[in-house]
């Protein structure tokens, strides 16, 4: 392509690359900086000696975090919620989305209901009471079931299914396939990019699950990683160590290096998922944009 470009176009391209590279660097730098701080000693950090590279590579911050049993346990919980939750999300979203593409009685009313629930989401207290009435308080399912279907994702996924030509499904019907077979053998395989994209959306949501975990889970042994890490990070702030024992002071507020390490540990796993879904993802976000 460049071979045919004029001089002006080439300068324009170069300019674009430079600007985009600068923007990319600006986005990347904070993350890089956090990583470097997490490997530095506190004294170096206080002296502002860490700009691009730690003076000394130290693992103290990571040791502090990983020594915690609560942390390791919460990692497992988060992995369970993320994988299990995403599977539930995909199962419910795709089946309902498919049902909404089929001509049957009450489809319109159902769609309207979906849109309605998108516009008017329940507040904190009603949600809590529903979860409580369902007996899900203190159960990990409380983080998975209430948001099993995201109405927005549902509508976009339905739109994607609609973009699959009717002829394909009709041909399957003529060949004697039933709805379940059509869905399982034709629609789903054709929708891999969409599924990958939504899997990512849902998985990130589950991985970051924080507030609903605090709200619904009373047993600290069930807390996901975001809650536990945050507790480690803000541990013993000035208000925390109230006064009847002077020895409380032995537990110091963790310094910035530990906070930075916590950020890395909390972000890295989900970040690693992106490259694997990248190729689907680029196509996925455009789902439904062109019919």
């Amino acid at each position: 392509m460049l071979k045919y470009a004029s001089r002006g176009e080439r300068i324009g391209d170069a300019f674009n690359y430079v600007v985009l590279a600068l923007i990319a660097a600006a986005m990347f730098f904070p993350f890089f900086y956090i990583t470097m701080i997490s490997f530095s000693s506190l004294a170096d950090f206080l002296r502002s000696d860490v700009i691009f590279w730690p003076q000394q590579w130290v693992l103290d911050a990571y040791r502090y975090i990983f020594q915690s049993h609560a942390f390791r346990q919460s990692l497992q919980i988060s992995i369970f919620i993320t994988i299990g939750g995403t599977l539930v999300n995909l199962a419910f979203t795709s089946t309902m989305a498919y049902a909404l593409t089929r001509p049957h009685f009450g489809r319109r009313a159902l769609l309207l209901g979906v849109i309605f629930s998108m516009l008017f989401s329940p507040g904190l207290i009603p949600s809590y009471m529903v979860v409580k009435e369902l007996g899900l308080i203190n159960s990990l399912w409380a983080l998975i079931l209430p948001g099993a279907i995201s109405p927005f994702n549902l509508i976009v996924m339905r739109q994607f299914f609609l973009s699959i030509p009717d002829e394909v499904t009709e041909a399957a019907l003529l060949d004697g396939a039933n709805e379940v077979q059509i869905f399982w053998k034709i629609i789903l395989p054709l929708s891999k990019p969409a599924l990958a994209a939504f899997a990512l959306f849902y998985a990130v949501g589950h991985w970051n699950s924080y507030f609903s975990a605090i709200l619904y889970l009373n047993d600290p042994a069930k807390w996901p990683i975001q809650v536990v890490l945050r507790q480690i990070v803000i541990l013993n702030q000035p208000n925390a160590a109230l006064g009847d024992t002077q020895f409380m002071l032995e537990h110091q507020p963790p310094p910035q290096t530990i906070q930075m390490a916590a950020i890395i540990v909390a972000t890295l796993p989900i970040l690693l998922v992106y490259p694997f879904l990248q190729k689907h993802f680029a196509k996925g976000v455009m789902i439904g944009s062109v019919k």
């Binding site: 950090f45 605090i214 600290p220 507790q231 109230l242 020895f247 537990h251």
Partner: protein
């Protein structure tokens, strides 16, 4: 919400099934069983660290000692209010509940959610210790519905690098003028010996924090000054605060206050001081970070921070503003009124937790203290004559009952009964600083706001905006973007936005409380 009893009954029945199975599971795992008449006691409290597991040895000890089935829930502090709102609204109020003492407490108390405690206060030694003025915080419509939790009276106190003063041959400042000269000297001269221009005077962060009130007279949070109608005024709208803001503005113009203060958070502000850049900051007897101090000492081995004593105010007083002396409230479900035995068990537990042991009684020989800490060798070790808990807050095992008992820490009879400075074992220089702060607070008692527990409806609704407005405008003044002579305009605008009603309501409430 709270009056919907039919609804809450359905829920509590259902909850009973779930809670019942959880209790059975807990009993199976700890190997203990509960007698049929053992009272189930629920509690909810906030936590900063990671809470102990729901089946730790400490919990078992509590259940055995008080013959209860105690089930505390710990909620991360950051989201405590939301969770509490949901739990209370859903109809089952825990038997023991921590409340930050916000508007919800007064609302729920007014709706009859909590047990009135007036009859019990005299019965329990640790409750009797709470001063009557402090008890006002838990008083609604004349009855006490909550017991305040202990917090030391010390507030954050301005501190200064003594080594820098010595280096430049300066005296400890005793007035804003002298403080100004010192801050300028820290900026223009070379107190650190690392070269001029590397240091400056005052470390300050966003919302003008610390406020550098060198006494209650100048404090933005004090209720001390009176207007011509004899009403008490909020400190941050008084002329004394104007004087303080002017002082900061003049120093800022000279580069003697943190340049980016308007956007600096608390951690960044700390860093200005502990990296040896700024020479004036704050300290407190407890809660200072030894890691930070170690960082400062690596940079400036001679660093010696000391408190700046309060300045003499025009009214003759020489004292800082003290804290309210409590932090948060403990409340009890109104349903307990029907169950005298359970109420007694709960209050016994709370009284036990709040009993203070002076340093010489914090020994394995003191049976109660030993039990509270989980027992020698099990919950704690004695190292060099000191009690060192085995559990940390990063990874607690729930070894000691004190990790589970809610309702605040021990109520300290006199602040001087506690020596926080001994806790700074890693950095003795910080310990000496803490000791100096502590001594200073013991010598000057500090001014306590008379308005504790007085509610203002306007402040509940608009308080955030009102505070934000003053903070924004005063930040502009310090940064030189708004002229100091528009101070009165700022105050009248604040009053018209609701500040006037706020002041009136506080003064009316104060009269009601006293009358």
């Amino acid at each position: 919400m709270l009056t919907n009893s039919r609804h809450s009954r359905t829920i509590s029945r259902r909850m009973f099934v779930i809670a019942g199975s959880a209790a059975a599971a807990a009993a199976a795992s700890t190997g203990s069983t509960f007698a049929a008449d053992t009272a189930k006691i629920t509690a909810i409290d906030h936590t900063y660290g990671n809470p102990p597991p729901s089946d730790g040895p400490g919990l078992k000890m509590i259940n055995e000692r008080f013959d209860v089935n105690y089930q505390p829930t710990f909620v991360p502090e950051a989201s405590y209010t939301e969770k509490l709102t949901a739990v209370v609204a859903s109809g089952d109020i825990p038997d023991i509940m921590y409340s930050p003492g916000d508007s919800n407490f007064y609302k729920w108390a007014g709706q009859g959610a909590f047990l009135a405690l007036d009859d019990f206060i005299e019965q329990y030694p640790s409750f009797k210790l709470v001063p009557s003025l402090t008890l006002n915080a838990g008083r609604v419509n004349g009855k006490v519905y909550a017991i305040p939790q202990y917090y030391p009276p010390y507030s954050l106190t301005p501190s200064i690098r003594q080594d820098w003063l010595d280096k430049l041959g300066l005296k400890m400042p005793t007035s804003y003028d002298e403080l100004k000269q010192v801050a300028l000297a820290f900026t223009k001269q070379d107190p650190s010996g690392r070269g001029a221009g590397k240091t400056y005077g005052i470390a300050m962060g966003q919302t003008i924090n610390p406020s550098y009130a060198m006494g209650a007279w100048w404090d933005p949070d004090s209720w001390l000054h009176k207007d011509d109608q004899g009403r008490l005024l909020l400190g941050s709208i008084t002329d004394a605060s104007k004087e303080r803001i002017q002082f900061l503005a003049e120093l800022y113009a000279e580069g003697a206050v943190s340049r980016d203060f308007a956007v600096m958070d608390w951690a960044a502000t700390n860093k200005e001081f502990y990296s040896g850049k700024a020479g004036i900051f704050i300290g407190a007897p407890r809660g200072m970070s030894q890691d930070y101090m170690a960082g400062l000492l690596q940079i400036d081995p001679g660093a010696r921070p000391v408190p700046i004593p309060p300045f003499k105010a025009p009214d003759g007083a020489q004292e800082f503003l003290a804290t309210a002396g409590f932090s948060g409230l403990t409340t009890f479900s109104a349903k307990l009124a029907k169950d005298k035995d359970k109420t007694k068990a709960i209050l016994d537990m709370l009284d036990f937790r709040r009993t203070f042991y002076p340093a010489d009684q914090q020994t394995p020989q003191n049976k109660d203290y030993d039990w509270l800490m989980g027992g020698e060798g099990k919950g704690y070790d004695v190292v060099d004559g000191k009690i060192v808990p085995k559990d940390g807050t990063t990874n607690p095992q729930g070894l000691a009952p004190n990790e589970y008992l809610v309702g605040g820490t021990a109520w300290v009879p006199k602040p001087s009964d506690l020596d926080y400075s001994k806790g700074y074992t890693k950095e003795p220089i910080m310990g000496a600083w803490a000791k100096a702060l502590q001594d200073m607070w013991t010598q000057t008692k500090g001014y306590t706001n008379p308005t504790i527990g007085v509610q203002s409806k306007t402040f509940e609704d608009k308080g955030t905006d009102l505070t934000q407005f003053l903070s924004d405008e005063q930040t502009k003044m310090v940064a030189g973007q708004r002229k100091l002579d528009t101070w009165d305009d700022m105050v009248s605008e604040w009053k018209s936005r609701g500040g006037e009603a706020y002041i009136q309501e506080i003064n009316d409430g104060l009269k009601n409380m006293q009358g």
